[in-house]
């Protein structure tokens, strides 16, 4: 494939876009362009603004500032329909299928007017289309019955139906095996030879280096520059992706974890999007779970908590966990701090008081009556210990900052005397720096009491600082395990972006066995 010269026109040109969500600046003055026939990769850590940038390009997100040109036409009011009309095809990471409708119907709805057959000949047409793209999927079944890999490939086919000038692929390989990745890449090359500009977003650097002409790196919503792929290596890209200016403080780790008693044992645990996974966690140990978003980390954690259906076994302190309901896990002392704080962890409109003591009301007074004075004392003590900043304990949790909300959720494992395992999903997401340290300290304090802690985080720096050991997941399996001596942000990011190729090569024998 030839690298297009400056003569070939821009098919996509995003200039100076900024976007803030509340107090979080997701993008700051970012510009990216894509020539006809070019494959332009966009890389960055989780939360670096890639998805927001794609959302803006595809018309789903309105930028606060900046312009988008598609095929040389300035986009006026952002809507996905308009972007499609101008020649933009987008394959969403979370897909755009209506799961209750058949594959043929989904294709039919995605087809532009001039490509559309009559309603009655839809199925024959859909079969022909799928054959054209060498996708072997029955067209009459509901899209919801397809495997995740099939859905992902179907998503790309749908984006190509309108014969776009520019094709946006958001993490198009998360559910694909090596062979399918090759097929997808062959398709992408074919499109680029035909003059389609491709914007390819992926965490997987070997893939990116193998396919891209140019690479743009994002970090914390700021563009770090656009480079010719031939001039880049995995190391040089990683160096651009990491290196946060802000240094975080972490609490001291306690003595070695090697001689500690094993508390939680998961063997052959599997469920939707993950497994089989074998993992042992000792008392007092903090284990980190890393990986690119959407590789089963969240599902694994929720599977351990009994919130997701699983098979295989989980044993906590000698007691087998009932995987069918969260209540079983909770009774056995396994507590999940959900990443969806206001949706799952907390009752946002209720007060700090109600949220804190809701699981232990029975202990706060005789005969089911609540001793308010005792309740208040308990809460104020804990609030001081966790440094929860609030006007009063009657303040609704909704009105607290993200960090203080998380601290309120964290009070529960402190109040329940029987907690053995804490599963924390993104414990510091949307939490300011000062409050982060308090949360790390709280988790460390529980670990010191002998609680096992598993932290799923998309922030490698956090995992490196907080954890005793980090496991790295890719496509639902553990592909690397990083011991305490090797822990560092760079080591974790390398494991994430190299998942598959690199990790298999560098991991020890045990790591490979796990992957098979």
């Amino acid at each position: 494939m030839s690298i297009p010269g400056p003569a070939s026109p821009f098919v996509l040109s995003v200039r100076g876009v900024s976007k803030a969500y509340g107090a979080v600046q997701a993008l700051r003055d970012v510009s990216v362009d894509c020539h006809a026939g070019e494959i332009h990769a966009l890389v960055g850590e989780n939360g670096s603004g890639k998805s927001t940038l794609l959302g803006i390009a595809s018309g789903f997100v309105q930028p606060d500032e900046g312009t988008v040109e598609i095929g040389g036409n300035l986009r006026r009011r952002g809507s996905p329909a308009e972007a499609r009309r101008l020649g933009l095809g987008m394959a969403y990471q979370t897909y755009s299928h209506v799961l209750d409708l058949s594959v043929a119907q989904n294709l039919y709805l995605a087809a532009p007017r001039n490509e559309r057959p009559t309603y009655g000949s839809m199925e024959g047409w859909a079969s022909a289309k799928l054959e054209e793209f060498e996708l072997d999927v029955p067209v009459t079944v509901p899209a919801g019955s397809l495997s995740l890999a099939q859905r992902q490939l179907l998503e790309v086919v749908k984006a190509l139906l309108a014969r776009p000038k520019v094709l946006l692929l958001d993490e198009p390989t998360t559910a694909l095996g090596p062979e399918e990745v090759e097929r997808l890449h062959a398709l992408v090359f074919e499109q680029s030879r035909a003059g389609v500009g491709v914007v390819y977003v992926s965490h997987r650097l070997p893939e990116v280096l193998g396919i891209a002409d140019r690479i743009t790196v994002l970090r914390d919503g700021v563009g770090q520059g656009t480079f010719a792929a031939s001039a880049m290596t995995e190391e040089s890209i990683v160096a651009l992706m990491i290196g946060r200016p802000l240094q975080l403080a972490f609490p001291e780790r306690q003595g070695g974890a090697a001689d500690r008693e094993v508390l939680l044992v998961a063997s052959g645990l599997q469920g939707d999007r993950f497994g089989p996974i074998d993992l042992e966690v000792a008392k007092g140990e903090i284990v980190g779970v890393a990986g690119a978003e959407g590789n089963g980390q969240v599902q694994f954690l929720r599977g351990l908590a009994g919130v997701e259906r699983t098979s295989g076994s989980t044993v906590c302190d000698g007691q087998s966990l009932d995987s069918r309901s969260p209540l079983g896990s909770l009774r056995a002392g396994v507590v999940l701090l959900s990443g969806d704080r206001t949706g799952e962890s907390l009752f946002p409109v209720l007060s700090v008081r109600a949220n804190t003591t809701i699981q232990v009301l029975g202990k706060l007074g005789p005969f089911g009556f609540i001793d308010r004075r005792r309740e208040r004392r308990t809460i104020t003590d804990l609030a001081r210990r966790l440094s929860i900043r609030m006007a009063s304990i009657e303040q609704p949790v909704l009105s607290l900052s993200g960090g203080n909300q998380q601290k309120v959720a964290l009070t529960r494992p402190f109040l329940r005397g029987d907690v053995k395992v804490i599963l924390a999903e993104e414990p510091t997401q949307g939490v300011d720096v000062a409050a982060r340290f308090d949360i790390y300290e709280a988790l460390r304090a529980k670990a010191a009491e002998g609680v096992a802690v598993i932290v799923k985080s998309s922030d490698p720096l956090e995992l490196a600082g907080l954890c005793d050991r980090v496991i790295v997941m890719s496509r639902g399996k553990i592909v690397d395990e990083i011991p305490r001596e090797e822990l560092g942000e760079r080591r974790i990011v390398e494991a994430i972006v190299g998942s598959g190729a690199r990790a298999a090569a560098t991991a020890d024998g045990e790591g490979e066995a796990v992957e098979q």
């Binding site: 755009s96 209506v98 409708l101 052959g268 497994g275």
Partner: protein
């Protein structure tokens, strides 16, 4: 999917025939053309408003304001279609009623799409406003409605009112549109998954607005037939909101959106009216009818969901089995 599609037709068809046959055997008065014509005429308001309600349910919404809208239409008709109104003067009166439906529909749609209110809350508010407006115009039943209009509306071929034939044709055409055209498919897709629909470039806002406008306009047309039935400006007549939702659901509509059938809703409306019609013949108290309808809705819901539930159970069991076997090998 296909099972679910046919289930309401089979269930309702069986019920209508069974109840009809049973009544015919017990009561000679039932199978007279006078009674059948009456039955079909009484079905008209509910049938029309149920078709409208189905359109709202298809995009995942509710419209509980339809009953009050019908009442308002009846009350307004008692002013604009009085016995002294000239035949020519009836035409603007008719347009006014449909215009009220149009305005209310657009108002509901704006509340739902622009102000992002849940449809049940938005239309509950509209319901109160419309009910108040109707009471403002007539605080008690008063004002006769032009018999020219009512005769025209109820003109029949043998025992079948022309309007009923019209509504059957309308329902069949609407179902063909829904299940055999691209726009119908797009309509259902918006109800099933709005985000996905928006991503593939469909005008989801337009679809939802259209659905609620259609719902209100159908309710205003139903208002005509209600006016023909009561023939007086009564402010306390329209209570079809819940009944129309019941009919739409019995007809196969899913409260989650994206599923439903206009013909099914029509059959359900006919069945519900049939129950009302046969009860006096048996001298059975209406309480039983109310309870029967409630139980029927529950039975129907379970029956309609049964294939999906079974399928889900089968795949999830199969999935876990597969996982178990997989882990045994690994």
């Amino acid at each position: 999917m296909r099972m679910r599609g046919w289930m309401p037709f089979v269930l309702l068809g069986t019920l209508i025939v069974a109840l009809g046959a049973y009544t015919a055997l017990r009561e000679d008065a039932f199978l007279t053309s006078y009674n059948l014509r009456n039955l079909l005429l009484l079905t008209m308001p509910l049938a029309l408003v149920s078709l409208g309600q189905t359109s709202a349910l298809l995009v995942g919404g509710f419209d509980v304001s339809v009953g009050a809208l019908m009442t308002l239409c009846v009350v307004v008709a008692s002013y604009t279609m009085t016995p002294t109104t000239s035949t020519l003067g009836l035409i603007p009166g008719a347009f006014l009623l449909v215009g009220i439906g149009l305005v209310v529909g657009i108002g509901n749609a704006i509340l739902i799409r622009v102000f992002r209110l849940p449809s049940i809350i938005a239309t509950l508010a509209t319901f109160s406003i419309l009910e108040g407006a109707a009471l403002l115009l007539r605080d008690h039943p008063e004002g006769s409605i032009n018999t020219d209009v009512t005769d025209r509306l109820t003109s029949s071929v043998s025992f079948v009112p022309l309007a009923f034939i019209g509504v059957v044709v309308l329902a069949v055409l609407a179902d063909i549109w829904l299940y055999r055209t691209r726009t119908g498919l797009a309509f259902r897709a918006v109800g099933l998954d709005e985000t996905a629909s928006r991503r593939i470039g469909m005008g989801t806002g337009r679809t939802v607005i259209l659905a609620f406008v259609v719902c209100s306009v159908m309710a205003s047309i139903a208002g005509f037939y209600l006016a023909a039935e009561v023939q007086i400006g009564s402010p306390i007549i329209g209570n079809q909101a819940l009944e129309s939702i019941a009919a739409a659901v019995l007809g196969g509509a899913s409260l989650a959106g994206g599923r439903g059938s206009f013909v099914g809703a029509l059959l359900a409306a006919l069945f519900l009216s049939l129950i009302d019609n046969v009860l006096p013949l048996f001298q059975a108290p209406t309480e039983y009818a109310e309870m029967t309808i409630g139980i029927l809705i529950l039975v129907a819901l379970v029956l309609y969901e049964a294939p999906a539930l079974l399928a889900r159970l089968r795949t999830s069991m199969g999935g876990v089995g597969r996982l178990r076997r997989g882990s045994a090998q690994g």
